[in-house]
Symmetry: C2
Subunit: 412 residues, 2 copies
Amino acid sequence: MSGGLGAQQDREKELEVLQFWKVRVESELDQVVAFWTKNSHDPEHGGFLTCLGHDGEVYDDLKYVWLQGRQVWMYCHLYRKFERFRQPELLDAAKAGGEFLLRCARVAPPEQKCAFTLTRDGRPVKVQRTIFSECFYTMAMDALWKVTGDTRYQREATEMMDQIVHWVREDPSGLGRPQLAGTPAAESMAVPMMLLSLVAQLGDEDEVLAGRYAELGDWCAQKILQHVQRDGRAVLENVSEDGQELPGCLGRHQNPGHALEAGWFLLQYASRKGDPELQAYVIEKFLLQPFNSGWDPNYGGLFYFQDADGLCPTQLEWNMKLWWPHCEAMIAFLMGYKDSGNPALLRLFKKVAKYAFLRFRDPKQGEWFGYLNREGQVALTIKGGPFKGCFHVPRCLAMCEEMLGTLVSNHA
Amino acid sequence: MSGGLGAQQDREKELEVLQFWKVRVESELDQVVAFWTKNSHDPEHGGFLTCLGHDGEVYDDLKYVWLQGRQVWMYCHLYRKFERFRQPELLDAAKAGGEFLLRCARVAPPEQKCAFTLTRDGRPVKVQRTIFSECFYTMAMDALWKVTGDTRYQREATEMMDQIVHWVREDPSGLGRPQLAGTPAAESMAVPMMLLSLVAQLGDEDEVLAGRYAELGDWCAQKILQHVQRDGRAVLENVSEDGQELPGCLGRHQNPGHALEAGWFLLQYASRKGDPELQAYVIEKFLLQPFNSGWDPNYGGLFYFQDADGLCPTQLEWNMKLWWPHCEAMIAFLMGYKDSGNPALLRLFKKVAKYAFLRFRDPKQGEWFGYLNREGQVALTIKGGPFKGCFHVPRCLAMCEEMLGTLVSNHA
């Protein structure tokens, strides 16, 4: 029957796409990891220099705690999950990064609050009144525990995690934010997203912690889902405490890449729960809708910020194309395809991956450029900086390589 | 003699340029002021709504204290210095803005610290740990005093000024910045610049205050001059307390528009002092050099940020063209020409003014766009926002109109 033949041809085409991208992603991951191992290690103090020019040269030696924690996590993940990255060099650098964090991240030990920026030798330069430095610290410590079995790291991870949960769910006063009469009680989607990813990290291959944080995971998922607003037509970055839209720019603010990232966090959650209804909802609301409204019809690429009423955002960089939303979109669409089998999602993965490899990738010096103008030309030639380290690109490539491997095997 | 004839022809050409721009600037000022009086007044609470779209529509009703203070100052300045702006509507709006600030700017009265953002009805939303809200508050109060003669405003201005000077020169602890072991003791050029402009404002037509703040003015000028670094080849935004270059991106950071603004503050200071040597130095270091290195050779316009080593800045918006550096450059070059008579500076005024009128001006709806991409296309369609209000454009036009008037008279 021609229908059967058509379906088989479609499946063969899908397999071709999967195989092509598996090879491409695998070799790209090697080059990206090589860029960071070659250029970013600090043999003197431990940790990582992430302010790197297009050729890997260090242009500033400040150390950003988010990026320290993320690189430790990334190296541990590669070491643990990929045969070819089981290299002592990676593990040693991850441990040196973890020890640097243990020694220097806290601003005033034994207080748990961590710095945002440190000098190269570990003195605090800047503190943010948020939970994110502490979250990436936790992510690093849990990954080190999983790869070394050293219980010091595990204790650090769970103690910091408990502190973060206390700040978020019980009492934020330790973060040092002033209480002002006019500040709206806004909930940023970043907070439950970050916590949900920590729940997944800590519970990975650990039944005890998975159980311990199960209720927290449910709470995070519910909080994230509250950001679907306007009768299901938009994901908004900030909502009120009771899940209503906030007035003004704050309420209308959208970040398509962030919605897509939340999407794959929720897809993982739906898988853990075995909840196909949630999966379908997430694909619709957090993958397809943000992509459809966030993809630039003129030049391609995802806008960085948008306004839900289509007004002009006030952020100067709103129409730039940043690397990380495209990394998140690649993960989200491939995961959506893997979980649902919907070939439209594979086509979207391919569309985003083609754009990313064409525009962000630097075949000459390795790693990806991070910041393009609206038209897709490189606007900043840096490979690393205050917010770009060894994380989004290799995490995307590693996760895509794993998913593509599974999909190719299943197709065969 | 042909030399004499040539010189006369040159002078006639200069006069043509001056007359042409005087007419243009005058009519543009009318349109810009009309945009703000039509769209930004808040009759209910006083003060100004500055988040305005391209057509003047309000897209957010948050009130930014910098912009409240600046608009009060601007209206008072226009009322006081221009016959055609001696309109009760302007004065009433300035007074209502001043009363709004008196009532709501302080976060916890009688403490002097002011908010950065307020709700429309005046409740504090956000506080910055800097002096600038308080500086624009002072500027507004002094301008109101000068135009109304109401001593309440004068007392407010001088009390806040004394508080600011205390924070800057004696004890910054009241600003609430944490003391961290790794934070470099950096001095931002913005602080002495801001104070020098307040010294000029408070001392304008006031012998007593001019005398009281004379030493402060000298101190500010010296502090600003410390930012000329690298054997006089670069103005750096941040230097150490003892006037040395700081390491890393912070030390190499440049802002050509800010250097040009500092330039005309210093030219005014040199005029007050009657110091032609300083005038020549300032024209060279703060006008010509920042312009030569900061003007985009490919697309025209001043870059927003640069790195003194020519590396890529880490700010995403570094290569955008913002309205205010062009406003500052117009003032600086016209003032430099007025003070020195050097026709090269008039040519530079014309070059910048042509770019600004072509690219930023909106002949359809009034006011100027604020944010262009590198190529000079409008990237944000807003006319006002968190950092753009009724200030840089009308201040530039008003000052240029006054200077062009003087120059035309002198030529005649």
